[in-house]
């Protein structure tokens, strides 16, 4: 287990270093926006990874609702937490990119607003998990996650079906992307996926250990109470 973790951590570090080099050096400079367009290689893959994690959270929540499986509950929690981290990156890098290109940090455009709503939904999911002491918390959180996941396709397809300030999708949306830029985008996507997988693995193991500690503490206080 420890060896597998070390190998994954090393591969992720190598992948991330190469992806950073590709984004800053290998990718050609975009003609209109110049170097600031390179934010794209962090902004877009972070959004894709966040969507994937929220999707896994949705599937795990449905499994929990059907089978009341504790592992599914832990997977849902871990994916939501790491997904919020990646979604935060999207919400921070987006305005930093928008400022020099659009001249504004933020606009209440459909996609931007829906992304902010998505972030708020999963932050409230985490707040619920953190502060609710009820035994029904995993159940309530799973229901919230199922409804929250409905926002993911809305965010993704908002730029297909509505006219928004946000640019059209670069893949599959009629946008044209230089093949070299496309390759660099994929390198960064793989690198961030590896990072997300590594963090999720670590966080899952931590959650298992934390729950075992709580269980042991509860058993100990029960034994002490019985004496």
């Amino acid at each position: 287990m420890k060896r597998g973790f070390t190998i994954l951590a090393l591969s992720t570090a190598i992948l991330l270093s190469f992806a950073l080099y590709a984004a800053l050096v290998i990718a050609p400079t975009e003609q209109t926006m110049g170097n600031v367009q390179r934010i794209f290689y962090y902004h877009v893959p972070s959004a894709w990874v966040a969507f994937q994690l929220f999707l896994i959270n949705f599937v795990a929540s449905v499994i929990y609702l059907i089978r009341r499986n504790a592992k599914a509950d832990m997977v849902a929690l871990v994916c939501a937490e790491v997904g919020v981290v990646f979604c935060t990156v999207v919400l921070i890098t987006g305005p930093i990119w928008a400022r020099p290109v659009w001249g504004i940090w933020w606009t209440w455009d459909l996609r931007l607003t829906l992304t902010l709503v998505l972030w708020l939904i999963y932050v409230s999911y985490l707040v619920l998990r953190r502060f609710s002491m009820s035994s029904q918390t995993p159940l309530l959180a799973a229901v919230l996650a199922v409804f929250g996941a409905l926002d993911v396709p809305l965010v993704y397809f908002s730029i297909w079906f509505f006219r928004t300030q946000h640019p059209s999708p670069v893949i599959g949306g009629g946008g044209s992307l230089d093949p070299r830029m496309g390759r660099v985008l994929l390198y960064n996507w793989f690198a961030f996926m590896a990072l997300a997988w590594l963090i999720c693995w670590t966080r899952y193991r931590l959650e298992v250990a934390e729950r075992a500690v709580h269980e042991a503490e509860a058993m100990q206080s029960l034994r002490e109470g019985a004496r």
Binding site: V36, V89, I96, R99, T202, A209, V213, E217
Partner: protein, 40 residues
């Protein structure tokens, strides 16, 4: 602030967010390890 500064700001912020989260995880892991030791 020229455009390149925005690029660096975005990259630095990305790693600052991931770094902060990893730091929080490391602190949590230390706390859980301490609790395990206490239980032993």
């Amino acid at each position: 602030m020229n455009a390149t500064h925005y690029l660096y700001a975005a990259y630095v912020m990305t790693w600052a967010i991931h770094g902060t989260y990893l730091y929080i995880l490391a602190r949590k892991a230390r706390r859980v390890r301490r609790d395990i030791e206490k239980l032993k």
